[in-house]
Symmetry: C2
Subunit: 341 residues, 2 copies
């Protein structure tokens, strides 16, 4: 059961660890309401991930890691069972699997009396690594953007997906801190509208110049010369550089290529999955038709209509100008360079 709390988190801080519970910002309610939810056990955590109260590949991994700390209070077997539940909560983002695997490795080696503390330390480590990766990604990415460039992003790979700077948004935040002008175009990102509800919200809160468009306007904006680079996050990067990201990324990548506009994938190395050879091997989650047919509870389509609702798509490596991780900027051919990370 998710419960509301009255305490308020800092803006765009998507989660807090309290030793015996996780407090999250319920991202389904933004930007209308800033509602916090307290997750007290792994059931709460799985529910929050499945319903997308928490979302964003790195954040899901971090929350899952802390979820396993909660499970550890009930013993080693509970952690292993919880790990199994968490791994299947969302199938596409690899950060979740990676975080769970790191925590499982701790469970195997830690002594009984130290297991909770050891898991908590590992969860802290995962959270801190992702936070540090944000900044490094931003610094690397900033080298690829000229002053006054128009930068388009899709979905939310922002501070709400991994505090404090996000991945795709990290160069935007850092440019803004440095007093450099940056003009951001945020696609609304149907069906769940993370671009409208989250990216436009967090960037506007930070005082960054952001313009909201529908997903269908990307081509027109590019034809008008308003977009100089596209930066998106990643839910999983295959060994050959093929990238799973929010549905719509592939369409944007094709259109960017046709306009000779570079598309950059900004993601921590935790999003790289060397065990997945190509994008064709990445499982794509299909979600409920109601995400498309209803918006904020209002029906926008005829009852019973057939719907196709894949949550992610695959952008093949040849449409990606560079992959920006905390370790630097990687350009094609990706295979060997990704393997080295």
């Amino acid at each position: 059961m998710l419960r509301s709390t009255n305490k308020r988190m800092a803006h765009s801080e998507p989660m807090r660890w309290h030793g015996d519970r996780i407090v999250i910002l319920d991202q389904r309610r933004l930007p209308q309401e800033r509602v916090e939810r307290t997750l007290c056990d792994v059931g709460d955590v799985v529910d929050a991930i499945v319903t997308m109260a928490v979302r964003g590949a790195p954040l899901i991994g971090i929350v899952a890691a802390y979820g396993l700390v909660l499970a550890a209070r009930h013993g080693r077997a509970s952690v292993l069972e919880a790990a199994h539940m968490l791994r299947s909560a969302r199938p596409t983002a690899v950060n979740l699997m990676r975080a769970v695997d790191r925590m499982r490795a701790i469970v195997v080696t830690a002594s009984d009396h130290a297991i909770v503390q050891a898991l908590e330390q590992e969860a802290h480590a995962i959270a801190q690594e992702e936070a540090r990766a944000n900044y490094a990604i931003g610094i690397w990415a900033l080298q690829l953007i000229r002053p006054e460039d128009g930068v388009l992003t899709h979905c939310n790979a922002g501070a709400l997906a991994t505090a404090p700077y996000g991945t795709a948004t990290a160069p935007m935040y850092i440019a803004h801190e440095q007093g450099r002008a940056v003009k951001v175009y945020a696609t609304e990102t149907r069906p769940v509208l993370q671009g409208a509800r989250l990216t436009a919200y967090e960037l506007a809160q930070a005082g960054i110049d952001v313009t909201l468009i529908t997903d269908s306007m990307v081509g027109t904006l590019m034809a008008q010369g308003k977009v100089h680079a596209v930066i998106v996050g990643a839910d999983r990067i295959a060994a050959n550089g093929d990238t799973a990201n929010k549905i719509g990324t592939y369409t944007i990548a094709v259109v960017a290529k046709a306009h000779s506009i570079p598309l950059y994938v900004a993601a921590p190395t935790s999003s790289i999955d060397a065990r997945t050879p190509t994008g064709a091997h990445i499982p794509i989650e299909e979600r409920d038709a109601s995400e498309v047919t209803t918006i904020s509870g209002t029906s926008v389509a005829p009852a019973g209509v057939h719907v196709y609702n894949p949550a992610f798509d695959i952008t093949p490596h040849h449409l990606i100008a560079a992959i920006i991780t905390e370790q630097g900027v990687i350009r094609a051919p990706y295979e060997d360079k990704l393997a080295r990370l």
Copy 2:
């Protein structure tokens, strides 16, 4: 003032002429409610067009023509004043201008006592020509679609935009009548969702196999080999074949080209504007930010966010495999062939 009526029109019949009033199906309320509105004077007609209670390039022209019949009851000067108001109601679709110009030509030549009757006959002629064009477009277009093809359409160029078959949807209806299987993918078409609310609705009502997707899914669907042709309508076709249509058409055209999938523009010759040399000369209407930031009255974006909301875009002629009019299928180079129509 728009007023509701209790009489029901046939399904997908978007308007009816009653001699002293126009009854329209309020397309803003579909598919949840079938609300009819009675338009009693030109003010009503302008309001219905501006607010998109009636929409669809051919339908706007027809309703405007009957609107001028209503104005004629107040004399010749009223018709000319009404013609001026109607021309500026929506700037992009040329059918509106063309219908108004045809009616103005009647006003100039008709004698005082016969003006209402002459205008009514011309309005009937415009409506009948568009209806006949539907069927011819469908027959021509059907030659371009193989049995079992997946056909993608955008926005609504259906029976609700021009009865009885629509333009882009005409081959789908005719194929269905002939017992041929056709699989239609309808983009929801943000921001106003004409694809979800109107196209998916009218095709499903007719028993046609239609699947609703978000605009962002077009690329993925094409990469999966599910789409064999794209058919869209047009709000204005320039002399060189460049086509203004609902925002998002250009993005789809670029992605279709990248997948070697033909994109066809299906439109009556009344949508061709020989006086507009290229797409760059077509005025593009920008509409209110609230169309993007709110859906069915619910806010889906942060308050005060910057929004860019062009209602149409231009698809350059080199991305159009053919233009299908009631007179046949035209392929590039378009300029001379369009001039002959």
